[in-house]
Amino acid sequence: MENSTDFLEEIAGKEYEHGFVTDIEMDILPPGLNEETIHFISKKKNEPEWLLEWRLKAFRAFQKMELPSWQNFKMPEMDFQAISYYAAPKQKVKYESLDQVDPELLETFKKLGIPLSEQKTLAGVAVDAVFDSVSVATTYKEELKKLGIIFCSFGEAVQEHPELVKKYLGTVVPHSDNVFAALNAAVFSDGSFVYIPPGVRSPMELSTYFRINAANTGQFERTLIIADKDAYVSYLEGCTAPMRDEHQLHAAVVEIVALDNAEVKYSTVQNWYPGDKDGKGGVYNFVTKRGICKGANAHISWTQVETGSAITWKYPSVILQGDNSYGEFYSVAVTKGKQIADTGTKMYHLGANTRSRIISKGISAGNGQNSYRGLVQIGAKAANARNFTQCDSMLIGDRCGAHTFPYIESKNNTATLEHEATTSKIGEDQIFYLNARGIDTEKAVELIVNGFAKEVLNKLPMEFAVEAQKLLAISLEGSVG
């Protein structure tokens, strides 16, 4: 056991894999935040008047807000003036095909393993890659267009489909929802936009890849997904950032609208730079994600694998407004080193016969602190609502912590709610059993953790599941001792 521990600790020294910096000419706005900044961004993006107005409204709301204090970690010092709110690869013309994209940028995405080039069609994933704040390439666009599916960068959507953007923007996450959502609404520079027309099933997974590259920038992207009646889409999101000593802020907003009988699956594999083992640097991942099942029988499912970021702080939520609608949340959060995760979900049951299911698996190692915070709220009209919640925590090492803060509120006597949570140590006997079968400790931990997280990993699309499994293994290397 001792020897293997040493060996594992050695591997623990393994640095963040995606921590390279790409040398690309950047268009960067100097740090600072005021109305000028917003005018600048809006102008740069060639936005219509109403959007600028909306941004300014959000900015004014942001100015009045204070940073929250209820979270289960010490709020880091935030200097919003020290952040650059716009960083884009310098681009003169719009890309027609990938050949025109800066080769260095393509190299970056290749390193990240994103199937950006169309030759990798076998992967069958349509990708919208967001580099710092600007969407650089969207693959498969033509093919999707034939089906009427709109999958493009947010900026493009504003230009080409302003009616859709105007109709749905801010309807799920209002401009003044919380301090980071307000900041995002004011300064978001790009993101992804998806619209699936009635009755269409997206034939492939849609995917966005985010990368923060420039120093001192925040990434504020905004994603809006609309699934019209009877539509279906599965959406994937992945993220990386280079290693930097200073912290970087990532305050994104994701809004999902599902109309009658529509289904949206949103999967995230989050691997932002977590900072080094002393907690220096790393990304603050403060994201607002919320979906609304607007129509009857709608279905929204969040799946997340969170292994990166210095602090992960987000609660992907579902508003179950339509009768018989269904919300799901599956999460695996790994914290090691000095990482902190305060994550969970909120399920608002408004319609009758609404159902929700929450499975959360937290794994803490090293000095990591992992909190599950969730809300299940049953409104007075949510007859026969049903919720099942399970949150399990696994502790590896005696310096880490696992916390659960579930809020359960029921105002309807026909609702049935269940919540259960367990916390335990990684089983010594299980490790011993596997050791006895000739499997070394490291591999054994990997097996046990994967088994622990299986329920969630199973929900991920195939190629993501493999990546997530690898990511878990890498994250936990050297944590046993």
């Binding site: 502790l395 912590g401 916390h403 029921s410 026909t414 709610l417 259960e420 140590k425």
Partner: protein, 453 residues
């Protein structure tokens, strides 16, 4: 902002006035200092609002609007008062007393009237078995000095601070070393006030090493519908190898509002078990039950049952702090909600870094009987040690329709079938009651309330 608004209300004025009186009467330097400190804390916090996490679901402010009298001091009872009080005690406790007298060996009875021990109404055990004193007579006692004001948390705790600043009579119960009390002690708190009153009962119970004690606590007040706000604090110290079974039966009348904090410390190999039963009647009950498991190898059990009706709001907050290894704690709270009543459950388990091999369990189940009833639950775990087993479970639901139908097909009427099922639901908690007579009494109380519904 809020503070300023609050301070302008008459209640705050009377609190300040009452503090002046209280600080005049109290004895030793240390106690004076404690009162002042507590009052300063209260002044800085004010009464909690729903913006505070701990009071998120319980809005206390509407219950503070009355023109409360804070200075309720009772000298000796006049013969007339004595007989009416005796009648009151007898009337309210007939059923319980009878149950206790019945098959069992019975119980000792300790009656306090507005915090003052009333020997005439009490049936007390011998002094060697149990020492019962008022605070005034105990100030020099070393174990009083060791524990008083040291267990209940003042910081960020407006109600404890208020109680500490204003209490005027306290009850000190001490179970001597190695002493096993042969019968349970029934503690009857009688609260008498002419008009709306705000009272601060204060208890300190010290169970010395190897002693064993059972206490059944009930509170009654005169039968007027006058608002009565009871802000109680009970401090408990359970010594090594000692056992303390603490039953709290919360019945009451309309107009009564309870905010209570029971805070206990436990030593090695000790056992503290708390059984809290809340029944319809009172407007508001807020129980804060806090355990500090300061030593290794001990066990604690917290059982709660709340049956709520009318506009009642019952809020149970528990905190268990596992500070040392090999501790075991077990919480089971069950609720049945009728009418427009509201219940809140917030259970917290903290496992500190040194508390390896902790076993902590928590469960809360609720049945909503009516469309207007609501439950807010928040079971919380905060764990800093890795070799532990902790779990919690919460359910909110309704009577199982299939089971109800089954019973009806067997010729059992709907009402009776429901009562049977509520009894079965409550059984998990009532069966934990170690005193058979008390258990019978509680089951009868529950059945009677269900019949009314």
């Amino acid at each position: 902002m809020i503070m300023i608004n609050q301070l302008e209300t008459p209640l705050y004025e009377s609190i300040a006035a009452k503090f002046e009186i209280a600080s005049l009467q109290s004895g030793s330097e240390a106690l004076q200092a404690l009162r002042r400190e507590a009052f300063d804390i209260f002044k800085s916090t004010g009464f909690p609002s729903i913006r505070e996490e701990e009071w998120k679901y319980t809005n206390i402010l509407p219950f503070l609007k009355e023109d409360y009298e804070l200075d309720v001091i009772l000298q000796e009872l006049s013969p007339e008062e004595f007989s009416t009080t005796a009648a009151l005690v007898a009337h309210h406790l007939e059923a319980l007393q009878q149950s206790l007298k019945g098959e069992q060996k019975g119980a000792y009875r300790l009656v306090t009237v507005n915090g003052k021990i009333n020997a005439g109404l009490s049936v007390l055990p011998a002094q060697e078995q149990l020492q019962i004193r008022s605070f005034a007579g105990a100030e020099q006692d070393p174990s009083f000095q060791k524990h008083f004001g040291k267990i209940a948390t003042l910081k960020d705790n407006a109600f404890v601070a208020l109680n500490t600043a204003l209490y005027n009579e306290g009850l000190y119960i001490e179970a001597p070393k190695g002493c096993v009390l042969d019968k349970p002690l029934h503690l009857v708190n009688v609260l008498l006030a002419g008009g709306p009153a705000f009272v601060q009962p204060r208890h300190l119970i010290v169970v010395h090493p190897n002693a064993s004690l059972e206490v059944i606590e009930t509170t009654i007040s005169d039968n007027e519908a006058q608002p009565l706000f009871v802000n109680g604090v009970t401090e408990i110290a359970v010594g090594e190898n000692a056992h303390f079974h603490h039953y709290d039966i919360q019945t009451g009348r309309k107009g009564m509002r309870f905010v209570q904090r029971v805070e206990a410390t436990q030593e090695k190999h000790s056992n503290y078990s708390n059984y809290t039963f809340t029944l319809p009647g009172t407007d508001l009950v807020r129980n804060n039950l806090v355990l500090h498991l300061n030593a290794p190898e001990l066990e604690s059990h917290l059982y709660g049952l709340y049956l709520t009706a009318g506009q009642q709001l019952v809020d149970n907050h528990t905190e268990v702090h596992h500070k040392q290894p090999h501790g075991e704690s077990n919480q089971l709270y069950k609720g049945v909600l009728l009418d427009n009543s509201k219940a809140v459950f917030n259970g917290k388990i903290f496992v500190y870094q040194d508390a390896q091999k902790t076993n902590a369990f928590q469960q809360s189940n609720n049945i909503l009987f009516s469309e207007k009833a609501s439950v807010n639950a928040k079971p919380q775990l905060e764990i800093f040690a890795d070799d532990v087993k902790c779990s919690h479970g919460t359910t909110i639901g309704q009577i199982n329709k299939d089971a109800l139908f089954y019973l009806q097909t067997r010729g059992i009427g709907e009402q009776m079938a429901k009562n049977m099922m509520v009894n079965a639901f409550a059984f998990d908690v009532t069966e934990k009651v170690k005193i058979p007579a008390l258990r019978t009494y509680l089951e009868k109380l529950i059945a009677a309330e269900m019949e009314k519904a």
